[in-house]
Amino acid sequence: MANRIPRVPVREQAPKERAKNFDEVCYGYNEEEAVLEASRCLHCKNPKCVSACPVSVRIPEFIAAVAAGDFTRASSVIAEDSSLPAVCGRVCPQETQCEGSCILGVKSEPVAIGKLERFVADWTRSHGARKVVKAPANGFKVAVVGSGPAGLACAYDLAKAGYNVTVFEALHKPGGVLEYGIPEFRLPKEAVVAAEIGDVKAMGVRIETNVVVGRTVTVDSLLDKEGYSAVFIGSGAGLPRFMGIPGENLNGVFSANEFLTRNNLMDAYRDDYLTPVMHAKRVVVVGGGNVAMDAARTALRLGGEVTVVYRRTEVELPARREEVHHAKEEGIEFRMLANPVEIIGDENGWVKKIRCIRMELGEPDESGRRSPVPVPGSEFEIEADSVIMALGTSPNPLIARTTAGLETNRRGCIVADEDGVTTRPGVFAGGDAVTGAATVILAMGAGRKAAAAIDRYVKGKLR
């Protein structure tokens, strides 16, 4: 019986070794391992994994192709629905999506769908086997704002449908959070990010970097002066949150965004790049999401001893399980049920320690999670020379403020329906700019839906 085979473990760089470098942690499956793992799939008649995937990749179908050793076919099945499979295979929270709904997971372990997707994408890349079919050019121009997951997915689908697509990126490199946010050791920049963006470009998408929409150009000028028929806004949730506690502006306190951008986008960890980054000795990272794990593991690799402070318990940690597991293996300490109340500086204004208070879980809040409440009189201190705040992000107000008729909600997110339709005709939006900080794959799903809606909008206008 196929399901008697245990889940095939994936090879990884040893924790002690990888704690000192930025090379990718996970090596992925080889052909033999992938075929074996693929053979575990039960091919359910009603595959729950597909409906649990935000872009509805036909998972059993590609896995059957892998099991049969037909990796080219596996690749084209995935390419129907996903423009960034090598990325998704690495960063999707599979445990709450496809793998979380895999029927095998009830009694044993789910099929390693993420690792198989990654295998297919990497195999396709190294064998130059990617094939795509593209509709003939239809003469319509569509502008996409932001080259992160939402924008790339939208641009890819539109280009495939025959549109002339230009993506405007504010930074000097395309990729959005894939480039500035997620570290090299989890998502290699050249081998994976640049390569997948290369596939989007190969579809005919033009990417113009160094264009800040809302400053360099506006949505209005794109529609009115540059002749675009529609605009998709996938500008992400880029503004970092701080706690508003005393001492947050001391030297040595960074947003995770700053710390990660310096390392990832600007390559500060490399000697041959000029951007500086602080190599702190004792680092406290505040937060429990993927960004907190990324910041903690980056600080560790820069030579720091790292403690993650999180106000709930391990069960509530929003980070991918694999990241928490990797972080622990690498020697990162977790202080659960603790919340900072003050950062204390030395006489020169540099961080010296952080004062926290113990928390306990109270009643469940509206999200169903039990909300943490401080335990009076339980303050304690942790010595640190750097504090990194990874408390989540919110959308940048720049585009909404400079676009007439584009409504936002009270959290600053652009108001858009399921299809990405905003309050401004011809303007669509999706990803974190609409939902607030979420995942790569949800943003991609939103980008795809918006691409379909843009197609209907532009063609509807013709009649």
Partner: protein
Amino acid sequence: MYRILSKDMLSPAICRMRVYAPRVASSARPGQFLIVRVNEHGERIPLTISDYDVDEGSVTIVTQKIGASTREICALEVGEFLEDVVGPLGLPSDFVEKTDEELKDSRYIFIAGGVGTAPVYPQVKYLKSRGVHADVIIGAKTSDLLIYKEEMASVCDNLFICTDDGSEGFKGMVTGLLEKLVTEDGRKYTQAVAIGPMIMMKFATLTAKKLGLPITVSLNTLMVDGTGMCGACRVTVAGKTRFACVEGPEFNGYDVDFDEAMRRQGMYRKEEIEEDHKCKIR
């Protein structure tokens, strides 16, 4: 890639370049800045916009050699390229949004220090185009380090020079000259604008306060992306944390915590010295 159309050295350490960046040029307003990356390995360096020409599609930047990246920018020649130029960033000066009626009785005094003189120029030029009175104080350590004298004289109503050593103009600091203009010479101003080193803006603000004069300052904080993403530029203004890159760079001087801003500016000094040292060896 952004081509360098012209280059001249304003002093041994300060260079001026006209760069082809048509999208930036057509959107730039006085008070805004841009970010330059000299090459693949360079930092993202915020620089003020010293002029812009929509027809030619060019922006003018003035760079002072203070570290490895700025030295690399100044080493480029006409016909060579900057890897990245992004902007305009930040909010325009508040007078850009004002009506002629609101501006008609305004009398501006600009206090320009060092390389900060360059971004004063487009502001004064703009005010001249709106028919608003603007005087300018340019200060430097010594005569050789004064920049933008002729350019400024052509657009302002009165130009006042001061040098620390008295080698040209008033002997002393910009603050001393400002005080003299107002108290001894009886010149009337409704608004001061100071752009220069943080320490100069701090003391210009103290002097303006003493004279009962409102003052705007342009903060040259640390920045990475310049779009509000990293928060490296955060400053305390009127007790609240603000991001200089998107909510500034100009703020009411009275409200700025300059001591914190100066401390934060030096956050990477250690790393920069090491980097600079490595570069000299390379």
